[in-house]
């Protein structure tokens, strides 16, 4: 499900969580600090805001099989 986060690049700034229009992305604590995760993947509109505004280019969009195959 899009978006996919690259935790090597992510600095845990929370921009994606703040700007997601659907309240789909949340932050959680990991051993390396805060990191984003998709709490409601089914509710993503694929608007791409998280990717566009990520300061570290840590977000890629990967479409799920249902959307690519039907």
């Amino acid at each position: 499900m899009p978006p996919v986060f690259d935790y090597e690049k992510c600095i845990g700034c929370g921009t994606c969580e703040e700007l997601c229009p659907g309240d789909v992305i949340y932050m959680k604590q990991s051993d390396d600090g805060p990191e984003p995760y998709l709490r409601y993947p089914d509710e993503c509109w694929h608007c791409g805001s998280c990717r566009q505004d990520c300061p570290e280019e840590a977000v890629t969009i990967l479409f799920p099989p249902d959307m690519l195959s039907i």
Binding site: P21, G48, S49, R51, Q52, M67, I70
Partner: protein, 556 residues
């Protein structure tokens, strides 16, 4: 959980394209402004991720590029679904300022060389679409709103309006992360919450895979209706054509550039069936597509293989302006515009304006005022704005009018009582239920009922059956449970959607003709009756009932 009491001149409910322009209109005309949105105003609403088109006449051609010619176009495609004098006031008169404002905030409608890139589709007499790069339009608008000193309530869902002596006096809402309540007392309130996009069964399985923003659920329209405001054009179920698996906007660019609609038999069906061919009004294109599918002529495609290399290059470069992730989708699906037609299908239905120039929702006048004192509306939440151009021009107009109303009031309305604990508890109730149903279960049933009984083919018996089923489902609204604040937000959305569905069904039953098929297609009244039905079906609340009244629109 805290309760915050705020006082302002103008409260704006919904911070999308219309709402941010309304905030600018109010603040630049001297009002103190509070603006609330379920998301963050930098990326919320239909064009949060970007947009690529804006409809305008620019006086570059005396035949079709004038205000008069544009109104003639509205008259022709609108077919009596809007008052021309209102459109002239909330759009035409605001257009120059809107174009100037876009440049002023750093997102001009022009290309880097200063010219307008213009294309034509949807029944236009000339190239009314301006193609532009709006990928950062919302972040720029958000900054402009904050720079003007507006107080921004991000992640606050407004759930009700405050009223006093028959006038709207602000609103109440909660923060979807903290659960804090906000009670905003305002001299004027603007509703800009968009249309309703999660209302019909979705042909791509997931109800959030919608053409327009799935978080637009008619909340503001319902708040306005409960406060006594009239709504109109609610019978129209809008649809469009989309890539098969992804409800992405962006196809207007393909058609504007010269894309051709193709059926499974290898026929260019729009060229065969409509005098304007692929550039026919959107409702005609969708109607013909549905007919092709019903006749077994699917699958359907859009064909761009014939386009010149320079046009294809422009498309490739600009397709992601309207939907940032559409190029990724094409790439991952293996689509190539040069070598293959792209499979398309008819979208989900939605409660939205019957054309690109007439809307659906809160009934407004020439000053963007609703029928209730102190309440204004703009963008897709109202009946005389539509699309990007309507939201930018009409949004500012509504903000300006709201500021004039607020600043013209001799005294502030009396201070409202502090938020009563019971009032908060009422909105939080789903959180306290240990038994009950998830909102998704109620919403899935709603979408099914709407698609089967209030869909693209309607009849008296079917709509009446739909109304009975919706009534039964309404009885389940108070059994929705939420395990967190996010789900609480969704339960309120479900509630709005169901009431929107009831209004659509009521208006669809009342209008005993067909208009802008398939948006309102009555199988038992298949003809358009221009003599008796050119005008708006206006809905009002009378006690607990929805009452319809017909308001004629004069056409030329």
């Amino acid at each position: 959980m805290d309760i915050h009491e705020l006082t302002t001149d103008v409260l704006i409910v919904g911070g999308g394209l219309a709402g941010t322009n309304a905030a600018m209109g109010a603040a630049e005309n001297g009002a103190d402004v509070v603006i609330a949105d379920k998301g963050a105003i930098e990326r919320s609403g239909d064009i949060g991720g970007g947009v690529d088109h804006f409809m305008a006449f620019l006086n570059q051609d005396p035949e079709w590029d004038t205000r008069e010619a544009f109104l003639g176009y509205v008259d022709k495609v609108g077919r009596g679904t809007g008052h021309l004098d209102i459109i002239e006031s909330v759009y035409c008169a605001e257009l120059n300022a809107a174009i100037e404002r876009m440049a002023r905030i750093g997102n001009p409608l022009t290309q880097p060389d200063g010219t307008f890139y213009r294309t034509r589709s949807m029944g236009q007499p000339g190239t009314y679409w301006i193609n532009f790069n709006g990928k950062r339009l919302k972040p720029r608008l958000g900054k402009a709103v904050r720079d003007l000193g507006c107080r921004v309530l991000d992640k606050v869902m407004m759930v009700d309006l405050l009223t006093r002596d028959g006038a709207v006096a602000g609103g109440i809402g909660f923060h979807i992360r903290s659960g804090d309540f906000y009670r905003v007392r305002a001299k004027a309130t603007v509703i800009s919450t968009g249309n309703s996009n999660r209302l019909y069964e979705n042909p791509r399985i997931n109800p959030f895979n919608t053409w327009l923003c799935p978080f637009d659920t008619g909340d503001g329209q319902i708040m306005a209706f409960k406060a006594g405001a009239a709504l109109s054009n609610m019978e129209y179920m809008r649809m469009t054509l989309l890539p098969k698996g992804f409800a992405a906007p962006g196809f207007n660019a393909l058609v504007g550039m010269g894309g051709r609609f193709l059926n499974g038999l290898g026929e260019y069906f729009m060229e065969k069936n409509h005098p304007m061919g692929n550039r026919a009004p959107r409702y005609d294109v969708v109607y013909q597509a549905l007919q092709e599918i019903r006749m077994g002529h699917g699958p359907l495609f859009i064909d761009c293989r014939h386009l010149r290399e320079e046009d294809l290059a422009h498309l490739r470069a600009s397709l992601g302006y309207d939907k940032d992730t559409l190029p990724d989708y094409f790439e991952q699906r293996g689509e190539n515009l040069r070598t293959n037609p792209v499979e398309i299908t008819v979208s989900e239905g939605m409660q939205a304006g019957p054309t690109e120039v007439t809307g659906s929702g809160i009934k407004i006048d020439r000053e963007s005022a609703s029928t209730v004192p102190g309440l204004f509306a703009c963008g897709d939440a109202c009946d005389h704005n539509r699309c990007v151009h309507g939201a930018v021009a009409g949004g500012y107009k509504a903000g300006k009018s709201a500021a004039a109303h607020a600043l013209g009031m001799k005294a502030s309305p009396e201070a409202p009582d502090a938020v009563a604990r019971e009032e908060v508890d009422r909105f939080m109730a789903p959180m306290g239920r240990s038994t009950g149903y998830p909102q998704r279960q109620i919403e899935d049933a709603l979408r099914k009922i709407m698609a089967e009984h209030v869909g693209p083919m309607r009849s008296e018996n079917g709509i009446q059956m739909g109304i009975r089923k919706l009534k039964r489902l309404e009885g389940s609204l108070d059994q929705m449970k939420a395990t967190d604040l996010h789900e609480l937000m969704r339960t309120h959305e479900t509630r709005s959607l169901l009431l929107i569905g009831q209004m659509m069904a009521t208006a669809a039953l009342y209008r005993t003709e067909s208009r802008n098929k398939p948006y309102h297609h009555r199988l038992d009244y298949p003809e358009t009756d221009q003599e008796n039905w050119s005008g708006l079906v206006v809905l009002r609340k009378e006690g607990e009932r929805i009452v319809c009244e017909f308001e004629p629109v004069s056409t030329r």
